[in-house]
Symmetry: C2
Subunit: 258 residues, 2 copies
């Protein structure tokens, strides 16, 4: 049993929880809790840590795995949550290529620019899977999806929805254009309401930063500007809310197809 | 200038920030920041506090008001935010009657049951105003809308969208029925997709608790069960996201009307 916080493995888990840089260097992240652990594809598991109580309660779940038993107090130090569930795992990061996101003939994509709120981005991943989105492209200045709060907020969608970060959004958008995927940017000055466009063909929604909205550069290269009508004195919607409105309109239209 | 944290007014502001009970007793809440202060209906203002820096920069905004100047350090203690903007105000709580929410012939309502996440409820208020919702009814176990985090997340919609808390949801639902307002509950086992119903008549969407969903009692009394289709392995959506999908479908149908 590991019972010292000076243990190098423990120190590494703490560093992976806290620092995006450490996660990038090791191409790893931390998965916490029973449900997130159960859903994690087995080939992604690098290290498993559990408390004695968890290990004896979930013996069959852990069967055949190399499990480090950790003292309760030390486990609390490793955990990012207030009430740790007693299991935690170091996992390999996902690794998708743009070609995989563009594979389907009428692919349905989401592009996130500089989103900063970890909860927002996690919620967007979860909603995107629900809405049948085929892939998510994030600008490199978006919050790290492997941030423990974000990973948790995805409720497991992080394992299932293909995504990638890019430092060259211009190049990505050119690829999309080649594939005849129409890019849509929600914009206050747009004339067309979002539900007046056809998303049954290859489509990508651009969602901008929470405070600043979509950058001028991306707004300019978007193929079409669309407007989410807002009543009252509302000037903008939360980024996850705006993404939801657009993704579920895409979903609604695509369900009518079949 | 107030420069002591022992000052009884300062202590009261801190209590109003922290305790729902204090807010209820005094029928008051705290409004922070320039934008929230500017949008607050003037007749709701009870007390105004500002730092010297704010007061001199926004002299004309404060003209004619009784303003307590507070030392920067004390202001930080009063504030619920990390970077206080230098203005804060004790305001009277809103006070709506159910009859006001039911006034419009084809009213469009949202009913929240036991929602616990302050950010979620704030976001729902903001989105509801944007979607043209006429009023929100909250069960008494919902988070306090006057919680500073929730108030902030409404982005000012708290001032504009009629709402009320009820300890007798059964009685409220009976009133709705009398007025021929159809109640819709999102439910996993529902047969009808949410976009197959007509929300142009008086409609109310029931949204349940984040973890537990809508209670059996409310599900049972809802006139119609509707389903939000979910692709992949998604079992449920975030409460604010589910509310968004439903409210914006209502909005979409009501725009088609005009």
């Amino acid at each position: 049993m590991i019972s010292s916080k000076a243990n190098s493995k423990i120190k590494n888990v703490v560093a992976l929880q806290k620092h995006s840089k450490t996660r990038k260097e090791q191409k790893a992240f931390v998965v916490e809790g029973l449900k997130m652990f159960e859903e994690l594809p087995r080939e992604k598991i690098k290290e498993v840590y559990a408390t004695e109580a968890f290990a004896s309660k979930y013996e069959s779940l852990l069967a055949g795995m190399v499990v480090e038993i950790v003292d309760e107090k030390i486990f609390e130090l490793m955990s990012d949550t207030k009430t740790p569930q007693g299991v935690l795992c170091v996992a390999k990061q996902m690794d998708y290529e743009l070609t995989e996101l563009l594979e389907k003939p009428e692919t349905f994509l989401l592009i996130l620019e500089d989103l900063q709120d970890p909860g927002n981005v996690g919620t967007i991943f979860r909603t995107a899977e629900g809405a049948g989105v085929d892939g998510i492209i994030l600008s490199e200045n978006c919050v790290d999806i492997y941030n423990p709060k974000t990973t948790r907020a995805t409720m497991g969608s992080i394992y299932r929805i293909p995504f990638l970060y890019t430092d060259d959004m211009g190049a990505v958008l050119k690829e999309l254009e080649k594939k005849k995927i129409t890019t849509y940017a929600a914009h206050l000055q747009a004339k067309t309401a979002y539900d007046q466009e056809d998303y049954q063909k290859g489509s990508a929604f651009l969602i901008g930063n929470e405070g600043k909205g979509l950058s001028k550069e991306l707004t300019k290269v978007a193929k079409k500007l669309i407007k989410i009508p807002m009543a009252g004195e509302v000037e903008s919607l939360n980024a996850a809310v705006a993404a939801t409105v657009l993704m579920y309109e895409g979903n609604r239209q695509r369900r009518r197809e079949t």
